[in-house]
């Protein structure tokens, strides 16, 4: 009995080894098209005409470039705040509806997200050009970013809010809290994981956005993405462009770590997910 069990176990671990073979084609692909391209960026960022140098990184940290990064962060912050201010009420109202109605309505809030991003931005360009005079200003860029990222804020907050146990709200009411207090002391704190993942999903992509500023800002508002584009395509300077990309990556990783930490402190549970 004992022996047959041992034999079975050995057989099992043998099969486990075999099954991981199925991941090998993917690992090869990943090495070729994810790993080595990243190494190339690092290579160009830390080399110049004569081998290894930190000159590229130093230039990338020059004030002109840092100012563009700060500008991008400022616009991304505005976008995040706008999305939170307008998106939270949407998520909240949806979560208070009958389940089937909310499910249907939330689909309608998500559909624009799956519409070609460039076409939506182009539509705003046409609209702003025809009916307003804010096209090619920073306001237009901000509007475009707010519009494009709003669903990414609504969805995670909505998914945390619908998982929220209604009895907490009833308990707060029974204990004498008015609706405003209930919201501030119960609903809002419990929805923080969703808020944090919403902020992550809006802030980070909107710092690195490309094309919105070109279409709606008319090249007047220079964001970090435009700067990298300029270095690579217009100036053909791969070293400078790669150095800027490395700085951007470091910034993204720092913000991600920060958000992950915030997510962990707000709740042990997973926040809202997009899919």
């Amino acid at each position: 009995m004992k022996r047959s069990n041992a034999g079975k176990n050995r057989g099992l671990s043998g099969l486990r080894m075999k099954r991981s073979v199925f991941a090998y084609p993917y690992i090869v692909w990943m090495t070729a098209f994810i790993f080595s391209p990243m190494l190339l960026i690092l290579y160009y960022a830390f080399t110049g005409d004569g081998g290894f140098t930190l000159e590229g990184i130093r230039a990338a940290l020059g004030w002109d470039n840092v100012r563009v990064l700060l500008d991008s962060i400022r616009l991304a912050l505005y976008t995040t705040v706008l999305c939170l201010l307008f998106g939270y009420p949407v998520a909240y109202l949806l979560s208070r509806m009958k389940k089937s109605t909310a499910a249907l309505l939330s689909v309608f809030f998500v559909v624009p997200m799956w519409m070609n991003f460039l076409l939506r931005t182009y539509a705003w360009k046409v609209l702003l050009g025809a009916f307003t005079n804010i096209l090619y200003t920073e306001g237009a860029v901000l509007l475009g970013m707010f519009y494009n990222f709003l669903p990414f804020m609504i969805l995670p907050i909505y998914t945390t809010l619908i998982k929220l146990d209604r009895s907490y709200i009833e308990a707060a009411g029974d204990l004498g809290a008015n609706p405003a207090t209930t919201f501030l002391k119960v609903v809002l704190p419990l929805s923080m994981p969703g808020v944090v993942s919403g902020i992550t999903m809006v802030f980070i992509p909107s710092t690195t956005t490309f094309a919105i500023s070109q279409l709606l800002g008319g090249g007047k508002t220079m964001l970090y993405g435009d700067l990298i584009y300029m270095k690579f395509i217009t100036e053909q300077s791969w070293n400078a462009g790669s150095a800027l990309s490395v700085i951007l990556l470091v910034f993204v990783l720092i913000s991600m770590t920060f958000m992950k930490k915030a997510e962990r402190t707000t709740s042990e549970e997973e926040g809202g997910r997009l899919w």
Binding site: R19, A23, Y26, F33, W114, V126, A130, T208, L215, W275
Partner: protein, 269 residues
């Protein structure tokens, strides 16, 4: 009474937000039936924009590129990604964590950096063919989404099925195709749909990684200053909405039925 006022305001707010989200798209679609060249000036109903659309080779080519790249890349990444998920799932904990973290890289990486890194690679190895570049780039950014759609389903299902299939005489390949794959099918299908839609929508990665072969996004970007045929909005929007509604309505109907069922049994909160 208070409740009704509240409901009214809630409805109005949601309605306004939806209007904001759909306004630009709907206006483009309306504009696509307008005889006038300028927006805000209605001169009569026409199909001219659609006739022009079919007659513009740049647009039909870009549409063909978008659809074929999406089809090829989503199928390849689904096959590769499903095997990868099965392989990763069977790995030892430490190796699995390492690979899963690396797999998340393209999801974490800004699109801009992914696009540029691929561009550098293609220039480095001298791959000039724009279409091949697009296909490779799209497979690459689709892969993690497929893997992370399939992995949770694998965790939900039991390894015992696979082992039972082996005990009953299947080869590992047969066991995977006959037992594991059907078991995680919902994850595979949602990965495929996700990959397809992501590929159709992509601009930034294609823009940097591509070379001369334009998909729709690249075409729109290139011709934004001259003006883009508004009929494009209709042919992109209508299929996407239909597809999403079909996918979602089924699950919503199931939920509604469950709700009715619950009410009948008196379980409703």
């Amino acid at each position: 009474m208070v409740k009704r006022i509240k409901k009214f305001f809630a409805g109005t707010y949601l309605g306004l937000m939806l209007a904001f989200l759909y306004a630009p798209i709907v206006i483009l679609i309306v504009y696509s039936f307008n005889g006038s060249k300028t927006l805000g000036n209605w001169t009569g109903f026409t199909f001219d924009w659609y006739v022009q659309l079919v007659k513009t080779p740049e647009i039909t080519d870009a549409l063909g590129v978008t659809l074929s790249v999406a089809a090829i890349s989503s199928v390849v990444s689904t096959v590769l990604g499903t095997y990868a998920a099965i392989g990763l799932h069977a790995m030892k904990r430490r190796a699995r964590t390492v690979y899963e973290n690396i797999s998340q890289l393209p999801m974490v990486n800004p699109d801009l950096v992914t696009g540029i890194s691929l561009m550098l690679l293609f220039l480095f190895v001298g791959l000039k063919d724009g279409y091949a570049r697009l296909v490779i780039a799209h497979i690459t950014f689709n892969l993690p989404y497929v893997i992370f759609s399939v992995l949770p389903k694998l965790r939900q299902s039991s390894d015992l099925f696979y082992e039972a299939a082996l005990d009953l005489g299947c080869t590992p390949m047969q066991a995977i195709h006959k037992v594991v794959v059907p078991d995680v099918m919902p994850g595979i299908v949602s990965g495929l749909i996700l990959a397809f839609t992501l590929s159709i929508d992509d601009f930034v990665i294609s823009f940097f990684a591509g070379n001369g072969v334009d998909n729709l996004s690249m075409y729109i970007y290139a011709s934004a200053r001259r003006g883009v045929n508004p009929a494009l909005a209709t042919i992109i929007f209508v299929p996407v909405v239909t597809l999403l509604l079909i996918v979602n309505l089924r699950s919503i109907r199931q939920e509604k039925n469950a709700e009715i069922q619950n009410r009948k049994v008196g379980l409703k909160r």
